[in-house]
Amino acid sequence: MRTIKFLLQKEFKQIFRNRSILVIIMVMPVMQLLILPLAANYEVKNINLSVVDHDHSSFSKKLISKITASGYFKLQSYNASFKDAFHLIESDKSDLILEIPEGFERDLVRENHQKLFIAVNAINGTKANLGGAYLTQIIRNYNEAIPVKWLPEAAFTQSSIIEITSSNWFNPFLNYDLYMVPGILAILVTMVGGFLTALNIVKEKEVGTIEQINVTPIKKQYFILGKLIPFWILGNVVFSIGLIIARLVYGIIPLGNLLVLYGFIWLFLLAVLGFGLLVSTYSNTQQQAMLIMFFFMMIFILMGGLFTPIESMPNWAKVIARFNPLSYMIDVMRMVILKGSGWKEILPQLWKIALFAIVLNTWAILNYRKTS
């Protein structure tokens, strides 16, 4: 047991003397939490619109002003022809073209229906979808408002209306930050814990000090514990800094019990560090360790459910996501912080992560050989 004390003393001294690690722990959370949510915004707004208005009637003009007033669209240009407007799409200056045919107002009254043409740059599918949906909705609203002015009320009394009231719970203002920040925090903790652990051990391999350790009678479990504990503590520090930033900058106050949150983090860190440990037993150079970690991190992050929902993934991807510890962490973060879930609700994720922690660490310990 005493040996662990000496190991920890050595590790902490080394960590605090290493400027770059301190930078990672202090600066990275701050930067990531400040910049990422600002950038990682999937709300669709400021869609560049080009209008080709062949009608030039007060009707069409009203429609256009209604569209621009909505806030979703930015009027980029008025073009004389579709071809002109298309050049703008080609050069990425415009996202959407609305073409109003000649005689629009006149034909609408005479023939009771008229078409409008919309062309959307659909390279970004989400943007195109939502952009098209918004535009359609605005047109529909405009459409419904017309007859009210123009036709007698009697025409409507027989129709039935279903009134829909919708409410948004936990995030009434549909604030995207509330959704992203807990998830980003999860990624942060994962990256710091995983990378630092893996690199630390591999560095000892590269430099040669690990050989000296292998010659001593230190039990390998103690050695590994001596490596896990400091980074486990560091992981907690990073997480706490992150929580503070979330509160100060984004006003996110965890709805649920902090103890539940930390309890999960403690287990999660064990799993992540175990993973870093495992990678280090398979790497001989820092370069290798870093690349391998990065490869897996990237898969974990992309398939963690932060940017795209896991439910929408094909089945084979869902299976992979089930082996991704990060996805559980992101879930729990959101559940506890935003919805106030408690121990009972996170039990399924809890024992899965515990399983990860046990498997990964055991595998790493078995892999680590003092004698080759």
Partner: protein, 246 residues
């Protein structure tokens, strides 16, 4: 008869088709300074690594301090000290911190650590550098420090792998004085080197060529045997036919 502290019998290490260490058999006695010589690539380091529990032999038998190298490596490690070819102390810790760390790892009590570290620093005249990072020490000092740390827990045997590489002649002499002091205390020294003049300092020498031990005796006897005046010559005679150059 002196006590045998290291004993090997047809000890062999193979890597695939390549036989690095080829059925070496020898004994080392307590308190002696054994020079393990050979050209680069002859198999010295590989042999040593098997004896200190870093590498499992392919075949053959060996015991160190009475413990078997296959199954009792942890016990071996409790009784030996090691100084590697590549400097293995922590560059980003101070002299004192390194001493304290290894002392603790080997199970010395706090009182023992304190006493020994003071003694060590005094003997090496490192008072001024005690609180400095090891990285700031010149190479010779690092080597001496490394050696002393290897002796902290008063092991029965100390293994030194090319301890004086790249060090100036004066420092080398100082280093060997440390080795003598240890040997006087009854510690067995097992040192590999390819400096032939250092061979003269040892009680006995073994010379490895192409994985086999071609000679093992005191320097004087070897010189007489080959009818030459220096260990250089002895080595040259034996290594001439070597097929494994660096």
């Amino acid at each position: 008869m002196a006590e045998v502290v290291i004993k090997t019998e047809k000890l062999t290490k193979r890597f695939g088709n390549f036989t690095a260490v080829d059925e070496i058999t020898f004994e080392v006695f307590k308190g002696e300074i054994l020079g393990f010589l050979g050209a680069n690539g002859a198999g010295k380091t590989t042999a040593m690594r098997m004896l200190i529990g870093l590498s499992t032999p392919t075949s053959g038998k060996a015991s160190v301090a009475g413990f078997d190298v296959y199954h009792q490596t942890e016990n071996i490690k409790k009784n030996i000290g090691y100084m590697s070819q590549r400097f293995s102390l922590y560059e980003d810790l101070t002299v004192m911190e390194n001493i304290r760390f290894y002392g603790g790892i080997y199970g010395l009590t706090n009182a023992e650590i304190k006493a020994k570290s003071e003694q060590l620093i005094f003997e090496l005249s490192l008072e001024k550098q005690a609180k400095e990072l090891v990285a700031s020490l010149p190479l010779g000092w690092k080597q001496k420090l490394s050696f002393s740390v290897a002796l902290l827990h008063e092991p029965k045997i100390v293994f030194l792998d090319e301890p004086t590489g790249g060090v100036d002649p004066l420092t080398r002499r100082q280093f060997w004085e440390l080795i003598y002091a240890a040997s006087d205390k009854g510690i067995t020294i097992f040192v590999t080197t390819h400096y032939m003049d250092e061979a003269e300092y040892c009680n006995r020498i073994s010379i490895m060529v192409d994985g086999k031990i071609k000679a093992m005796d005191s320097p004087e006897n070897l010189k007489k045997q080959f009818d030459v005046n220096s260990m250089d010559e002895v080595f040259y005679q034996l290594a001439r036919g070597a097929t494994r150059a660096e």
